[in-house]
């Protein structure tokens, strides 16, 4: 059926692969780290788990060095177009490694792990593998690669979500996540198969060219698009593909919630951007006519629904983690806003928003963990009076929440500013989107402020004092640093913004 490749071709393939490996060092390094962690876990069984966490932290930090080295490399395809290396991918490599590190740090402070599980075992290894998966998601340029990396992320996420095996909520979350995730990815891969059928291609760039050149059956395209969107939407947690997220976020160990809400969502965003920017042929003038489906409207609907739904339903939450889960749905909506603009400024805004979201959301979850360590609860009512007993935690959480609302002088404000700037740079075209974004962020103020309201405006029922509630020196320093950064980048955001702009170039297309 197929022609076997000749020797020369095989030589060429080997040479190409070897060459590609040179562009693949961070991923390889991380894989080594992953295996190392498993080995350490086996060898150092029974010892204190700090060894694992420190190794992970150092290992991830080391990755940053390799990623940094890739800055010098030119943008290009690897492994026969399966994989790309460009500034955009690099951004996400940094991003995921950083969020991995933050997740590790946050885990180290979380006392729930000591209560729930005997050994941290493969936990850190799984985090590393999730980071690998996410990095690959952001770098994939081929349907196959997309599918593989997404499943890698999903599988590790399932396990991590259910990591507290004896905890009902954690296990339930894992089950829900698994079922929902499996169906979503099943649909997506079915959609992939339809796209493959239409274009005979799996490479995004080639798909785009094929679609533009040959046209296709619109009905099939609609189905394919919707199936693919279901898969990506599930990763992003955008309405109406968000249903898994509140339950999973609530049930999962808090560091994993943070990782899912930030990194996994970012990976979805990266994938969406690459898919939307590259695979959908934008340069065909009448593409809306022949496509029968326009992504543009679709994403707008998704975005608006997410912003409204997330913010409105969050009003009713009494569990802080669940509240933040709904808030993360809303933030998915904000992220989508600037993707819709589909230009350089929009890309920059998205990337900037992700960075700010990393800072503030991880910060918020970190404080939530510290508070849960002391109070053993994530319920809103149990936050009463914490402003007095845990002053730094209270202040930090307030700053993070203010940043999530998008008020100056925090980085969250600049994020919103960039998004709305991107929208308004197109004149009045997207004004209504900006208006919805603005209105919903006012709504969000109410539920975010419920937390400071409980912490500061109400007195706690029990007589706990500041001494017994002290979260420890390291935690205080870390919170302070995150709080400082949130404000600092709110006032002097040029470095982040420049970085986001520098990273807003995707291989294969030019954005204007």
């Amino acid at each position: 059926m197929f022609e076997l490749p000749s020797g020369a071709e095989i030589q060429g393939i080997i040479a190409s692969v070897t060459a590609s490996v040179g562009f693949f060092i961070p991923e390889i390094y991380l894989s080594v780290l992953f295996m190392l962690l498993i080995v350490i876990d086996l060898v150092a069984k029974g010892r204190k788990n700090n060894l694992l966490s420190i190794t992970t932290l150092l290992g991830l930090a080391g990755t940053l060095f390799f990623i940094y080295q890739q800055n010098a490399l030119p943008a290009g395809e690897l492994f026969f177009g399966m994989y790309v290396l460009d500034k955009f991918a690099l951004f996400f490599k940094y991003f995921f490694v950083l969020s991995g590190m933050l997740a590790v740090i946050v885990t180290m402070s979380d006392e729930q792990f000591e209560r729930e599980v005997k050994s941290m075992g493969e936990y850190y290894a799984l985090i590393v593998s999730m980071v690998i998966g996410m990095i690959m998601m952001a770098s994939s340029a081929d349907l196959l690669m997309i599918f593989l990396s997404m499943e890698l992320v999903s599988f590790t996420a399932y396990i991590l979500t259910g990591y507290f095996k004896r905890n009902h909520r954690s296990s339930e979350a894992a089950l829900k996540y698994l079922v929902y995730g499996a169906v979503s990815s099943g649909l997506m891969v079915y959609g992939f198969s339809l796209i493959y059928g239409l274009t005979a291609q799996t490479n995004l760039l080639k798909i785009s060219m094929s679609l533009a050149a040959h046209g296709y059956d619109p009905l099939v395209m609609i189905l394919a698009t919707l199936f693919v969107l279901a898969g990506i939407g599930y990763k992003i947690g955008a309405v109406p593909f968000h249903f898994w997220s509140p339950d999973v976020y609530e049930g999962a160990p808090t560091p994993i919630t943070a990782l899912l809400s930030v990194a996994s969502k970012a990976a979805g965003v990266a994938l969406l951007m690459r898919f939307y920017y590259i695979a959908v042929p934008h340069n065909v003038k009448s593409y809306e006519d022949i496509l029968g489906i326009d992504w543009h409207t679709l994403l707008m609907l998704l975005s608006v629904a997410s912003m409204i739904y997330g913010n409105v339903v969050a009003l009713w939450q009494k569990n802080v983690k669940r509240l933040l889960a709904y808030s993360s749905i809303a933030h998915a909506g904000y992220l989508l806003l600037s993707i819709i603009v589909l230009d350089e400024l929009g890309t920059q805004a998205t990337l900037f928003y992700l960075l700010s979201y990393l800072l503030m959301n991880f910060g918020a979850f970190y404080v939530v963990i510290l508070i849960a360590n002391k109070t053993g609860s994530e319920n809103l009512e149990d936050y009463r009076g914490l402003g007095k007993t845990m002053p730094i935690a209270g202040a930090a959480l307030t700053v993070f929440l203010v940043s999530l609302v998008g008020l100056p002088p925090t980085v969250g404000f600049i994020g919103k500013l960039m998004i709305f700037s991107a929208l308004l740079s197109k004149g009045s075209l997207y004004m209504w989107l900006a208006l919805i974004g603005i209105m919903t962020s006012v709504i969000s103020l109410y539920y975010y402020m419920l937390i400071p309201l409980n912490m500061y405006l109400r007195e706690s029922g029990n007589g706990s004092d500041a001494k017994s509630m002290n979260p420890g020196m390291i935690a205080q320093v870390l919170m302070s640093v995150l709080m400082f950064l949130t404000i600092y980048f709110g006032l002097f955001f040029a470095p982040l913004s420049d970085f986001a702009r520098y990273s807003s170039s995707l291989f294969g297309i030019t954005l204007h």
Partner: protein, 545 residues
């Protein structure tokens, strides 16, 4: 120097951060020193201010600084945005006639607020940190000449205010605090959109980059014709104007966006009420003068009538609502609404007399209402109630207090010889002289009568006559055979004590002095206002030719 004025309170806040929370007196003194130093600097600035320079827009020679004074302009953020050129945000502050008096007012009210905060006992450290943050933000708003900077200061005010009302407020404080927060945020987020729209519509005349500079934005020739808020986009310019106006009107507060104010005032502790009424409300009208009107002069011109009507509604509606109040503080809060209506009416007149009146009224309302709230606080501290019918005959027992109340009340009702009169008079003079608002002015004068009605009535019920049967205090026959008043758990002096006098007497003196000789304030306004009126007179936009 201007930066120092703005950031002194924040520096004080940082110092306080380092002071252990048990050292309440040190914390208070640090705040007081900062406020006083700020006041001294403000006075120095006032002395050094040249009233001949108008400000408002760029100077005649096209200098981007305009004829602003005490200008400090530093690059703050500079970003390359590719096809959108470079994003330049500047730390650009300075004063002109519109802001210089407000700076002085802010410094004055901040210092008085610190004195008034002396009685705060709960979480003193946190209180003063937030207080100082608020003071800095307010000052920053008045001097910012970069829209971005303005917006940052504007929003920074919200959070401290939320906590100051929410933690140190009255029984219903949570509700009042979140209401204040939501309302004002609702107003300001739309401002964000307009700000972005303006950014894309305006080019700096010198660098030809997009800019946030309010000075550049105030000159219509800097607008890109077909940009979203450029002269061609009439509809969006109207929408932007309305949106901005509502944002500022919420702060003023203008009917029907005023309902947060009575709640916030009733729940807020005295010093916060003072700040709120004395300075924060002015930010609304200041924003209109600085941003809303000069940036959209043709829209302003078209909407003068509507603004005037809202002003009249504020005046009369506020007065009527005040008349019906049983809680003294609520009455004063509604009187604020009524008095801010004069400011709106003066602005709507769009001529020099009206605008002068409006700006002068902003200053006077700041001092007079601060006085009113301080006085309400004095009686509340003693009697723990503000219900008007729980008092009666106080004039016999607290003569000094009654005397100052009389001055304040009459200042509020616009008695000549006290500063409030001149500003109200000029508002009416301006509004009547403008054909647009003539009939509105004729209706609004009713406010003079009803203003007098509720103030005199409350004065009578609380201070005149004799003690009522259910009064919040007892009478005792003293050793000298005279009746003395006795509050249930008040240990301090019955009549005003030294600290209270130190807050009130300067305000009384200012009120009287400026009522007799207003030029120290008006003299600083006139050139700016005349220039502003010129800017606002309808310009024929290039596209309309």
């Amino acid at each position: 120097m201007l930066s120092l004025i703005v950031f002194l309170p924040i520096i004080a806040g940082l110092v306080i951060l380092a002071v252990p929370s048990s050292q309440k007196q040190i914390i208070r003194i640090v705040s007081l020193l900062a406020a006083l130093a700020q006041g001294v600097l403000a006075v120095l600035m006032w002395r050094g201010y040249n009233p001949a320079l108008p400000g408002i827009t760029a100077g005649a020679n096209g200098s981007a600084l305009g004829s602003f004074q005490f200008v400090e302009k530093l690059p703050w953020i500079s970003l390359n945005l590719g096809s959108f050129g470079s994003l330049n945000i500047e730390y650009f502050i300075g004063v002109d006639g519109l802001s210089v008096t407000m700076v002085i007012l802010t410094a004055l009210i901040s210092a008085i607020g610190v004195l008034s905060s002396w009685t705060i006992q709960k979480q003193v450290k946190g209180y003063f940190i937030l207080y100082n943050l608020l003071a800095s933000a307010m000052m920053g708003c008045f001097v910012a000449l970069d829209f971005f900077l303005f917006y940052v200061f504007w929003e920074i005010m919200l959070l401290p205010m939320y906590f100051l009302i929410g933690i140190w407020g009255g029984p219903n404080r949570e509700y009042a605090a979140i209401k204040f927060f939501l309302y004002t945020l609702f107003g300001s987020v739309f401002m964000l959109l307009v700000m972005i729209g303006l950014y894309f519509s305006v080019l700096d005349p010198v660098t030809h980059n997009h800019t946030f500079s309010l000075v550049a934005m105030a000159s219509q020739e800097n607008y890109i014709k077909d940009a979203i808020l450029g002269p061609d986009n009439v509809m969006w310019r109207y929408i932007a104007f309305i949106v901005l106006f509502i944002g500022f009107a919420i702060k003023v507060p203008m009917f029907p966006f005023h309902t947060w104010l009575p709640d916030a005032h009733v729940e807020a502790p005295t010093p916060i009420s003072v700040i709120l009424a004395g300075v924060l409300l002015k930010l609304g009208t200041y924003g209109m003068l600085r941003i809303n009107f000069p940036l959209f002069p043709e829209v302003f011109h078209a909407s003068m009538y509507v603004i005037g009507i809202f002003g009249a509604i504020n005046i009369i509606y506020g007065a009527f609502c005040a008349l019906a109040q049983k809680d003294l503080k609520k009455m004063v809060a509604y009187s604020s609404i009524s008095h801010m209506g004069y400011v709106l009416l003066g602005l709507a007149a769009g001529n020099s007399e009206g605008m002068t009146g409006a700006l002068y009224q902003m200053f006077n309302h700041g001092t007079i209402t601060a006085m009113l709230f301080l006085l309400v606080g004095v009686i509340y501290d003693r009697a723990h109630t503000r219900q008007i019918e729980k008092f009666g005959g106080l004039a016999s027992y607290m003569p000094v207090y009654a005397g100052i109340v009389t001055v304040a009340w009459f200042a509020s009702l616009g008695l000549p010889g006290l500063s409030g009169f001149i500003s109200e008079a000029f508002v009416f003079v301006g509004a009547f002289s403008s054909v647009t608002t003539r009939y509105i002015a004729m209706v609004s004068v009713l406010g003079i009568v009803f203003g007098a009605a509720y103030l005199l009535w409350s004065l009578q019920r609380m201070f005149l006559g004799k003690r009522r049967a259910d009064a919040a205090y007892d009478l005792e026959i003293g050793e000298d055979g005279h009746e003395h008043i006795h509050f249930h758990d008040w240990k301090g002096k019955i009549d005003l004590d030294g600290r209270e006098l130190a807050m009130l007497v300067p305000l009384v003196i200012i009120t009287i002095f400026l009522g007799i000789y207003p030029m120290p304030v008006i003299g600083m306004l006139t050139s700016s206002i005349n220039k502003l009126v010129q800017v606002l007179t309808p310009v024929v936009l290039t596209s309309m030719n």
